[in-house]
Symmetry: C2
Subunit: 258 residues, 2 copies
DNA sequence: TCTGTCGTCTGGTCTAGATCAGCTGCCGAC
DNA sequence: GTCGGCAGCTGATCTAGACCAGACGACAGA
């Protein structure tokens, strides 16, 4: 942060000679100041683009470029046609702790909510079938949910379960129950091994809609396959997180020749 | 824009959200077609922005917005003031295999290179000191490198090592040797436990410069702390990857109550 | 042969608007 | 009290340029 006054008029040339390598463009700096002041006031919402534009003495396009930049950094985010907001602190997500979502969130003094979007039986899509060792088109349960942290929609998940492992699971209250808990309590199944694939992309259409996000918002994708005690893949998840919402962590012994 | 669809067959992307009518704006679709055709010709480089602009009958700004979108998806990337390129397939990076970089890359039939940027002794920065259980300002070795896959700069790393664990390590040929190998062969040290923190951000200034990237390009940040057989933190890395360059994977037993 | 300069090409940054479309709150009709 | 409609607000998308700065190659001079 810079000691820049939020309402410094036009571009102050003096503060950053063009050639200076580490010089932050003053627009970004002023914008950061604005973000910081909003955050300090406890106001998550930023002013309207047109107002910021006027206040920072710049163009709409230039302003938006700067905002998109801050969005990529994970400092601000937007909700579709609603406005820009200051990103809350990231949630810590320990990949190997395998805590149910609500427990993970609450253990960090945040509030968790889940919205059930779809719970249905379908024919396995090719990709999912491959993950679970099934044939494309085999019967599968699919559960789609959106999850919130402190009232903010941050996660869109699609679960795919083998019906032979979890008969009748769709009848439970899937907006309240943790799947992991259901597995253990009602199906006597313990997850003995998990496989993850992580990559950085954008929210796909369905996820963007469920999260009130703009098509193309940066996202952290987490694909997870759960295996039971016998090494059989019993279900797989595809998670799309707003990328500024989480910090992934993990601690383990190396498995290679270490 | 017109509903022109030169090679509309390219639109059905594999990661399309299920059950959603893919209502992709035609500009993105045409651009994808252009990318696909470039890729098919074996030409990684896209035409100049001004040419694409003319060819797709649109504005520079609109075109760039679409390109930035594809960049966020990991389909294209740019090199600073050089142009836009089609992203090669992602490298698979198994977090727990702990393979040296060159081995990992070569095992996937790709070519690895390393450029040593800095190797020096410094006072520990606060953050690093905390990771290694040192006091801020304690002596540390810092090694900074840029790493390439198939001639493309994809990774910027800063290593911080405890000098008491690795006396004289700066004298080795750090552009060629794997640190993990050096630890084992010359210092009899085996990494017994690793801790990772992963997050999605943008390339910081130094990384952007080292990777010929634009300030603000999306990045996957990987912080890694290595512990020896006695549980002591011996070094830590901070890696910044071009976000489209890798797929992270890992397989392990859950550590919680499972 | 080497080196430094310079022109050209490319993206980077910016100005100044217009129009489209979803979200929200207000208010009237029922 | 509820519901629907409408108006005003907000971001989303787009047009049509301008100038700046780094990358790169060609060429001339040492």
């Amino acid at each position: 942060m810079q000691p820049v006054s939020p309402v410094s008029a036009t571009v102050p040339d003096a503060d950053a000679p063009r050639g200076t390598p580490s010089s932050e463009p003053s627009l970004l700096a002023s914008l950061l100041a604005l973000v910081a002041s909003a955050a300090q006031r406890g106001d998550r919402r930023l002013p309207a683009e047109r107002e910021m534009m006027a206040r920072l003495a710049t163009t709409r396009i230039t302003l938006r470029e700067a905002l998109v930049q801050l969005e990529a950094e994970g400092r601000v985010y937007r909700e579709n046609r609603r406005g820009w907001f200051v990103s809350p602190p990231r949630l810590r997500y320990d990949l190997l702790a395998c805590l149910p979502f609500h427990d993970m969130v609450q253990s960090q003094q945040r509030r968790a909510q889940t919205r059930l979007l779809v719970a249905e039986e379908i024919g396995a899509p090719l990709e999912v079938a491959r993950h679970l060792g099934l044939a494309s088109g085999d019967r599968l349960y699919r559960i789609t949910r959106a999850r919130l942290v402190d009232e903010r929609r941050v996660l869109y998940v699609e679960h795919h379960l083998r019906p032979d492992c979890f008969p009748g699971i769709l009848a439970f209250d899937l907006a309240r129950e943790s799947l992991t808990d259901l597995y253990r309590r009602h199906y006597g199944l313990r997850v003995a091994r998990v496989s993850y694939a992580l990559s950085t992309t954008v929210l796909p259409e369905a996820a963007a809609r469920a999260l009130n996000a703009v098509r193309g918002s940066p996202a952290q994708r987490i694909t997870r396959i759960n295996h039971d005690q016998n090494g059989r893949a019993v279900d797989c998840d595809e998670e799309y997180w707003r990328h500024d919402a989480i910090d992934l962590t993990l601690t383990a012994a190396p498995q290679g020749g270490g």
